[in-house]
Amino acid sequence: MTDPMPHTGSPETDDMLDDVSIEDDLRPTDPDTPEPMIQLDGVSKTYPGSDIPAVDALTLDVPKGEILILVGPSGCGKSTTLRLINRMIEPTGGRIIFDGRDVTRVNADELRRHIGYVIQQIGLFPHRTIAENVGTVPKMLGWDKAKISARVDELLEVTGLDPSIFRDRYPKELSGGQAQRVGVARALGADPPVLLMDEPFGAIDPITRDRLQNEFLRLQDELQKTIVFVTHDIDEAIKMGDRIAILRDRSQVAQLDTPQRILSLPIDDFVADFIGSGAALKGLNFERVRDLDLADYPVARSDIGHAKAVEMLREAHQRWLLLLDEQERPLRWLNEPALDRTDRPITETGLPVTATVEPNATLHDTLEAMLNSSTGCAIVTDERGRYQGVVEIEVLNAAITRMRHEARDHYEELGLDHSSAPPHVSAPSGNGR
């Protein structure tokens, strides 16, 4: 699972239904990683009449509780891969292992009742009420009516739909966002450990999509399902994924890693191209201000005199001096021209403080604040508004460089042939491809 390289192994042709010893080879080497919930072992799909496989010997582990994103250009086989997992498409080679159990040849209908499945078009049954839709799988599993009814109410509530309003409605009476919530509720019907989602938010307007994504992530925090999520949108992948598998033709894994590391160190040109410009900018979402080494900056209390302030400024070789009030809250930015006007009180000269961020803000938010700041610096304050330090552009530069080094160290630790990565992986984000 920590292998970001394309898999070159030949498809697993042996029919080892009962032999589980091979699983040991597939388990992650990292002891901190939880056990895999889903294992694809050399899974292939070749359609009849075609020589080129749609999915070519894909080996992939998804640990319990992880959101794994499959992302790639159109036609790379990501949807096919997802549909191979619940055997909506039958694989022509390899094994699918759920929680240590080989399910490549079990009854597919039976198997799917224990795997949640959400598709972009949702596919609610138009002639059934919302309650009947959500209760589809529990009903098939033979739950009694009271239990199904309680479960439906619970699911509607967790997906943000009031059961008293929506229970007896029909799908045509729902908005797109509401329908997708019902789709998720229905997939969670019998509390399956695994969810497969095929561009679930693809057909929803951007504002609703953003809200549904956030709600879904919150829900996932509680539920801890193992999720495989297909999208073609790299931004959605970065936002939703614990790990991202970037796929190229025939579902070959180009890079499989955390969003942060993929953004910091795209392994090759394909990945770099797919991420597109702004990788460094997107990567800033994964770092927080509290992890930064804040720059030393000249600060002064508001009772300082003009002359003293000028002296401080010159000593520090800085353009700006930050003025704090008695509670150490940032007050004004002072520079020499402002301080020369001794006719005004020091608290009314200079520029007002506009850009402050808290320690748990992301670097992305911090950069935004810096761009809006009159001095190009963001001031870090604690929750009571007291001054903690200042973030300058050099600090952000250092952070990005550090992230890149960490990613490179990580790959070196794995013993990867480093020449496979471009020597200066900053290139894709820097030269505006």
């Binding site: 909506m88 799917r112 078009q121 596919g123 609610l124 002639h127 589809t136 045509k172 229905r186």
Partner: protein
């Protein structure tokens, strides 16, 4: 063929929805206030027309030929019964043949199967459809004569001939009804672990019901009309009265027979509309 596909469902819709804005979710079989009104008003009009006809015929000055031909107990009532029997059984036959056939012909294996099966099975659809098409394209009279030569005269021959004639609308509507079920709904059903049979019976057929019923309704009305020709091959029905009116040049007899056949057609159509209204699944 393609014109029939478009026609069959909409011909039912025309009756109730004339002038209504085209709303895809509105059911043709009298949902919505206007449809409801027509469902209630139609039987009143039909009963009034029947009473009017009975009064007119009863009060008219009749000669002996007319009196004999229009006798209720010995002529009109038995003919009416025969007419309904012909219509009912031929429609039952149509349903029993056309709906299962339509289901089979829309199964994915016949539709897009593998490239191997496609070569053989891809021919099935056009062959079956052109056969059904012949049933409707042949002149009804010729069809009756063909069956007469094959099966001899009588009620059963008439029923089979009528069934073949009305096969196409039900077959096509079954196929169209099943085809128009959203692929994603089937995908979702299969993805949740419903078997193919379960998806067919719980999802596809219920969703196709309105379109299939519209086809059945068309078949019923066709059969009522065509059953007036069944007397040619000894099938009985109201055609006897119409024919004797024509032969004796007695307009009263002809008009009575024709009006009764028309009233039967409208009544049958109304009953089918009521059934459609109650069988239509909620939510679509």
């Amino acid at each position: 063929m393609s014109t029939t596909v478009a026609e069959a469902p909409s011909s039912a819709a025309d009756i109730d929805l004339e002038g209504e804005p085209p709303e895809p979710s509105t059911s043709p079989a009298g949902s919505g206030p206007r449809g409801l009104v027509s469902l209630v008003v139609t039987p009143i009009v039909l009963i009034a027309s029947a009473v009017l006809l009975a009064t007119y015929v009863g009060g008219a000055d009749k000669d002996s030929a007319e009196t004999s031909a229009l006798d209720w107990d010995t002529k009109l009532f038995p003919q009416l019964k025969e007419h309904l029997t012909l219509t009912l059984w031929s429609t039952v036959l149509v349903i029993l043949i056309a709906i299962p056939l339509g289901i089979v012909l829309t199964r994915p294996i016949l539709r897009r199967g593998g490239p191997e099966s496609r070569k053989i099975l891809g021919l099935v659809n056009p062959v079956v459809l052109s056969f059904a098409n012949i049933g409707q394209a042949l002149p009804a009279y010729g069809l009756f004569i063909l069956f007469l030569g094959w099966l001899g005269q009588g009620e059963n021959t008439s029923i089979i001939a009528l069934a073949l004639f009305a096969l196409l609308p039900v077959l096509l509507n079954t196929m169209v009804g099943l085809d128009q079920v959203d692929e994603s709904v089937i995908e979702a059903g299969r993805g949740m672990g419903m078997s193919k049979l379960r998806v067919l019976t719980r999802i596809e057929l219920p969703l196709a019901v309105p379109v299939i019923l519209a086809g059945v309704r068309t078949a019923l009305v066709i059969n009522v009309g065509m059953a007036t020709l069944a007397f040619f091959i000894g099938g009985g029905g109201l055609g006897i009265t119409i024919n004797s009116g024509l032969k004796l040049s007695r307009d009263l007899i002809t008009v009575t027979g024709a009006t009764m056949a028309a009233l039967v057609a409208l009544t049958v159509d109304w009953i089918a509309a009521v059934v459609e209204r109650f069988l239509r699944p909620k939510g679509i």
